[in-house]
Every structure is written in C-alpha cells, then in structure tokens.
Amino acid sequence: MSVRNARDSAAYVLMFCATVLCILLPVALAVSLFVRSIPVLERVPVTTLLTSSDWAPSKGQFGFLPYVVGSVWVTVLAMVLATPLCLLTAVYISEYAPDMVRTLFKPVVDVLAGIPSVVYGLWGIIAIVPIVAAVGPHVGKYLGFVPGLSATGFVNGDCILSGAVVLAIMVAPVIISVAIEVLDTVPIELREAALSLGATRWQAVKHVVVRKSAGGLAAAVVLGFARVFGETMAVLMVVGNVPQVPRSVFDAAYPLPALIANSYGEMMSIPLYDSALLMAALWLMAIVVTFHLGARVLVWLLRRRVE
C-alpha cells in the first residue's frame, strides 16, 4: 500500500470518527441531562413538577408551572407578532420589491441575524420597556375587559409584552432569510402561468407561490419558534423575572431559560436544585427537537400532496 493510500485510509478513519461523534452528540446531550434529572424525578412525580406552583428549592418543592406558563406566553405572543410580519415582508422582498431593494435587503438581514441577543435585550430596556410602561395602563383601562390585556395595578414595562416584542424583532432576520430562500425556489413559470390567466400579482402569490412553498414557509416559522423558545438573555433582561402564573401580557413572567441562567450561583448549594434545573434544560431540548422533527414530517407530507 502506497503512502498516499495509507494517508487516505487514515483520513477516512478520522473523518468517520468525527462524523460518529457528531451523530452521537445530541444523544449524549439528552442522555446526560436525563441521568442528571433522575434524582429530582425520583423524589417528585412529573405531574407535580408540571402542575404545582410551589417553588421553594430549599424545602425540596419544585413547582415548574409558573415558569412553563411564562415560557408559553412569551413564545406564543412573540410568534403571533413575528409570523405575519415576517412572512409578509418575505413575500414583498421576493415577489414585489424592486431589484435594488432585493439585492440590498438580503445581505443586510444576514448581517443583522448575527446581532448578539444581549444587544437585543439592551435595546429592549432602552426603547421598548418605557413605551410599554407608558402605553400599558391606557390599554388596560380601555381594553382591560379583553382576556390577557388587563393591566391591574402598576405596569413597570418589564413584562411579557416587552419580552415578546424584543423576541419578535430578534427572530425576524432568521424567519425572513429562510422564507425568502424558500420563495425564490418557486419556478418563475408557475407565476407566469397564473399571471397570463389574468390573476393579479397577489392572487398569483396566494394561490400559486404560497401553496407551492407552504412546507418551506412552515419550516421557516418552526426554526424561528425554536430560536424564540430557547432564547435566554434577551428575554431575561426585559421580562421581569417574577415567578407567578401570568394572566395578562402586562404581567411579569419568568420563562424556563431565564430561570436556568439566573440560578447558576445557587444551584450547587441546594440539594436537588441542579437536578431540577437540568431537567428543565432537558424539557427545552425535547420540545425544540420535537417541533423540529414535526416540521420535517410536515414538509414531507405537504410536498407529497403538492406533487
């Protein structure tokens, strides 16, 4: 065997090992987090962990309900704000915008996608929190009868709405970038066929382009969801971090990732505390991975239907 062939085989072994490592990493992640969360699971049943609001780590009480509900509020509201805005923007850039805007917009969005989350959080503190604090009481006064909009007591701006606005802006470059890529893969002939039949541009978009790329657009939104759901720093800085079950968008919340990040100092000194927090990390991972795989199945099903 020549030296070159030996080198080739050696490189193959190395590459194979790196690839296996890469494949096993998510498994190792899940297994090690699970092993570390066994101690708390042995002491407290999962149903209690998820439905109790009693949070007193020093007494061995770990009720995750306020944190889970806080996470859900912030994530859902952020996605409700971001999804329509981002998809409309992506459609505009991909289908309507003049060439100059198009060529300028994409690289700028890609650059902005890299802005650190702590910068988004800081912007939230400087810009969004004061606005929410000023607007909140008025909304509560006139629209307080709508569930989720009541503003009882003092609105200091560190609340779910601020967190959701910051997250919505933060995730926009991710969703828009993927959505534009998806829309660009729709063949131009399909649009031309619709337009030549007398469809308006919007009708072509609505009936042809979006239909054809529905799976990819859904995947873009799911990617955004994963980013929002696990985001820690930007939310932590503006959401108030009060462990309560929120009733309104003007209430403070305490999402799971913020809890993990804020407890790093004390988690070693209280028994079971680190176990409970690592279990929370496992939940985060499980939910994100489930959505991710769900999106893949959805894309696959939609593609089969379209074809």
Binding site: R4, N5, R7, D8, A11, Y12, M15, F16, A18, T19, L21, C22, L25, P26, S32, L33, L85, L88, T89, Y92, A97, F105, P107, V111, L112, G114, I115, P116, S117, V118, V119, L122, W123, I125, I126, A127, I169, A172, T200, W202, Q203, L223, R227, F229, G230, E231, T232, M233, M237, P257, I260, A261, Y264, D274, L278, A281, M285, V289, F291, H292
Partner: protein, 283 residues
C-alpha cells in the same frame, strides 16, 4: 375598481408596512446601541482592567471582558472548525455516498442547530461537574464549541455540496485519492465558503451569553491558564446593567457597542473574504 384590485392594493400596503416595520426596527436597534455606546465609550474602557470599586463607579475598563470574549470566540471557532471540516468532507458523496451516515449526520446537525444555547451551557456544566472542573475558559470553550458546531458545519456542508462533480472526477481520473480530492480540490474550491462559515460561527459564539453564564464564570483579571475563569463581553453588559449606578449602566452600553462592532466586523469580513478568495474558485 373590482374586489381583487382592492385586495391587491390592500395586501401591497400591508406588505410594505411590515417591511418598513421590521427594517426600521432592526435599524433602530443598531442605531440606539451605536449612539448610546459611542457616547459612553472612552480609551480607558478598552485598555484597562477593572480597578477597585469599578462596579460602583470606580476607575478602570473592561479589557478583561474584551480579551476573554476574543479568546472564547477564537478558540471555540478553531475547535468547532476542526470537528466540522472532517465531518463535512465525510458527508459529501466521495466518502459516505448518499448513504445513511450522511443523512443521519445532517439530521443530527439540523437538530443541534435548533437546540437552545442555554441547553449546551447546562450540558457543558454536567460535564464540568463530572470531571470536577470549575467555571473556566476551557468549560466556556466546550459550551461555545457545541453552540458553533452545527452553525459552522451546516454552512460549510452547503458550500461543499456546490462543488461540481466534474471537477472532482477530473482529479480522480488522474489518480487522486479521496484525501487528495478533499484537501486539494474541495477545500481550495470552497475556501471562501469555509472562511465564511467559520466567521459566522465566530460571530454567533462571541455574542452568546446563555451558554457561558453557566460555564465560563466571570472575573476581573485576565486568564493565564485554560482552567482560569474568564470575563466576557455579553456578561459584562449584563452584569453592569444590573447596577443601580447610571455611570456603571452607561458602561454596559459601551460594552454592548464593542460587542456589536466586533460582530458587525466579522460579518463584513465574511463578505470581503468571500470576494478575495473567490478568485481561486474554478467556475
């Protein structure tokens, strides 16, 4: 005007409004941070370590965080790149074919891309506890490598998939081994993409706070060993913002300014590298 014309204009207005809202919001962020940060920035901030009483308004700067962040970002990018490159070579057609290994590796990278960075921080923390390592530069690098690996690998893989088949076949035809093709053809052809992928990872890594809050710790001095704790810019922003002193809060804006400038420079460097190395690419 018919119904569908009204619908057309209605949605056109709606789309333009959302584009302006989003573009405006993003520009607003950059402008606010650059403006507020530049006002509180001074030479001492970037050249001095925090001195006594720094966090209650005393003298000093955040050199510890700047050096710490650059070390964390640079070293974890190197490690992530060293793992990502062989994986990317492997999952091209030459080695693994269209086989299960490649599909599995891509699925795994996709899944890892979505995993929140706080989870990587928690995982690295369990590893730290297991090997009884304290909060340190090394632990921070481990966590950030995990954050960057899927980003870097996916970016490089995407570029490598665009290498024309004919180019590789021409090399095989004159007797090149797969390793020759990987190192002399694919890596040359993809050099701009590889650099872009690494810089993308660096930008994400240096800005990530959630993974290092559990692993890297925070200190006012410069690290001398891999096992020393290390300061970092995102956490410098976060901790200084927690101070009630407006003077110290202003320094958080300055730290955010420095961080943002580093990240934006990395992004712009990506574009420049891509152009510069493109001349080696066979089209």
């Amino acid at each position: 005007m018919t119904g569908r014309r009204i619908e057309e204009s209605f949605f056109r207005v709606l789309m333009i409004t959302s584009t302006i809202l989003i573009a405006g919001g993003l520009c607003w962020i950059v402008a606010v941070i650059l403006w507020r940060g530049a006002r509180s920035l001074n030479l001492a901030m970037v050249t001095q370590l925090p001195k006594g009483g720094y966090y209650i308004g005393g003298e000093g700067g955040i050199l510890n965080a700047i050096v710490g962040s650059l070390l964390l970002g640079f070293l974890s990018t190197v490690v992530a790149g060293a793992i990502a490159l062989p994986v990317c070579f492997m999952i091209q057609g030459d080695y693994a074919g269209k086989g299960r290994v490649a599909a599995l590796a891509r699925l795994s990278l996709d899944v890892m891309w979505g995993v929140p960075s706080i989870v990587y921080g928690a995982f690295a923390y369990t590893v730290m506890v297991y090997v009884s390592l304290g909060a340190s530069l090394l632990a921070g690098i481990v966590a950030l490598t995990l954050v960057q690996l899927p980003i870097v690998a996916r970016a490089i893989d995407e570029v490598m998939q665009t290498v024309p088949r004919e180019l590789k076949e021409a090399a095989y035809a004159i007797g090149a081994t797969r390793f020759d093709v990987a190192t002399k053809v694919i890596s040359r052809q993809c050099l701009p993409g590889i650099f872009a992928g690494l810089l993308l990872g660096f930008g994400r890594g240096i800005g990530d706070a959630a993974s290092i809050i559990l692993t890297a710790g925070y200190t006012d001095s410069l690290p001398h060993r891999l096992t020393d704790p290390v300061g970092s810019l995102p956490l410098a922003v976060f901790f200084q913002l927690g101070s009630p002193d407006p003077e110290v809060q202003a320094r958080a804006y300055a730290a955010a300014f420095i961080l943002l400038v580093i990240v934006l420079l990395a992004s712009i460097a990506t574009q420049l590298f891509t152009r510069r190395f493109s001349r080696h690419v066979v089209r």
